[in-house]
Symmetry: C2
Subunit: 239 residues, 2 copies
DNA sequence: CATGGTGAAAGGTCTGATGACTTGGGGCGC
DNA sequence: GCGCCCCAAGTCATCAGACCTTTCACCATG
């Protein structure tokens, strides 16, 4: 096994679960922590860096190393990067998760969404309509942004940070450029906008059942497009 | 920003998304890769180690560094560790995710579960019944194992690796010792076993609707226990 | 042809030195 | 006395070099 740095990871993890380190706590200095775990600074830094990437620790140069808030949103953040590395065939599997989670999130959101959030959602969809009203030459990037923001807003409004974090990760760029190109080619961008509007209506009415169903239909449609166009050429756009 | 090692992570990630590195590919040697990314061995190793922990890379001493299969199960593995770091208040949020995902996974499993998997599920539940038949002095650890294995088997049998990976992570030790102690104190361990049996019946009948409902009820029950006992004393058991 | 040894190559670890950045306090000017 | 600036100590970030451990392939030997 890649031993020494795993010792570091396990050691720090146990220091947290045992309560010795709390959220926001500052860790001992590198040299001291290394001595305690029986490793030198090299492997120690490797382990710490890994936990930083996982969202468990946070280092501030010139200051020290701290435990993060350990909130779900923080810890599930790396999930986004992992979703991006998925091959198109697996996008179907990830969309299946969305199809289950997002309607539920929408239902929760319908019950507890605030007026401010509703106003924000309206603003997002108005931007979407402005983009579509220009005619044939649609700004695809902007359309994707609108879609992303709309879904994330609902996920957040659900009040469940775990929902929000997972949906956030899955709504991310996963095969999105290719997908939206396909949607655009089939003139379905207006359908998407209409579905978004229907979801918003349900949220405004604070009707969880309608919100759930509208969201289900919406994600199902996206899923259909994905399944139909898995075979198309890959688009390598770096972010 | 924690600069140099992030350069490494982004660099390797882009080498993968750009197709330069495929699943299973071998990376250049440390010194060469470091030279190419403009960093020395230290930060390079930090970045590589982080990607190893995320399940993206795999190092073999004396051999080289390779890209993993990049399958969802592989990449979502670290999710388990993150779930363990959650505070009890957040357990409710994680259980809400289970309540949504597991019934769907059970429905899928009902449609596609194999005879071998059904046999395995029966064996697991028989073990559970053996544990319960001894009388009052129930082996709680073994009971937790049975529960874990049963849920994971169904998640895997769903055929969706993303479902399986996320459920796997959430079914993990999250506040489980405390939870099961509460269930045991209320004499509800037999209820759990009975619910498991009902789920298995639905799977054997390949009836997705029944499987979904049975699983819903089961997880809902667990959720109730959790909500009722969040306030109890924490149990610090290291794995 | 099979088998065992041997060495090159790769990742793993340690050490020391240096740079970059943050923080807090002390000194200086007003 | 008050406030501002500057500096020095502490900390993480990086680099460089050396050595250890493990793996794999080639080759010599039986």
């Amino acid at each position: 096994m890649g031993s020494r740095s795993n010792v570091v990871i396990d050691g720090i993890r146990q220091m947290i679960t045992s309560g010795e380190l709390m959220a926001g706590s500052r860790l001992p200095v590198e040299r001291e922590l290394g001595a305690r775990l029986g490793v030198s600074r090299g492997p120690l830094r490797e382990g710490v860096r890994a936990l930083v990437v996982l969202g468990v620790l946070e280092t501030r140069q010139g200051d020290g190393t701290y435990v993060t808030s350990l909130e779900p949103g923080q810890l599930l953040e790396p999930l986004g990067m992992l979703a991006e590395l998925q091959s198109p065939e697996n996008s179907v599997h990830l969309l299946a998760v969305r199809r289950v989670l997002e309607p539920e999130a929408a239902a929760h959101a319908a019950l507890r969404i605030s007026d401010d959030e509703l106003a924000e959602a309206r603003r997002i969809l108005e931007r979407g309509e402005a983009i579509l009203s220009v005619g044939d030459d649609i700004d695809l990037e902007a359309t994707i942004d609108v879609d992303t923001e709309f879904h994330r807003l609902i996920a957040t409004a659900s009040g469940n940070p775990a929902f929000a974090a997972i949906i956030d990760a899955l709504v991310g760029r996963t095969a999105r450029a290719r997908l939206w190109r396909a949607i655009h080619q089939h003139g379905a961008v207006h359908d998407t906008q209409r579905e978004h509007r229907a979801i918003l209506d349900a949220l405004e009415a604070h009707d969880p059942d309608r919100a759930r169903i509208r969201m289900s239909v919406h994600v199902l449609g996206v899923e259909d497009y994905t399944e139909r166009h898995v075979d198309e050429q890959p688009v390598d756009d770096v972010d």
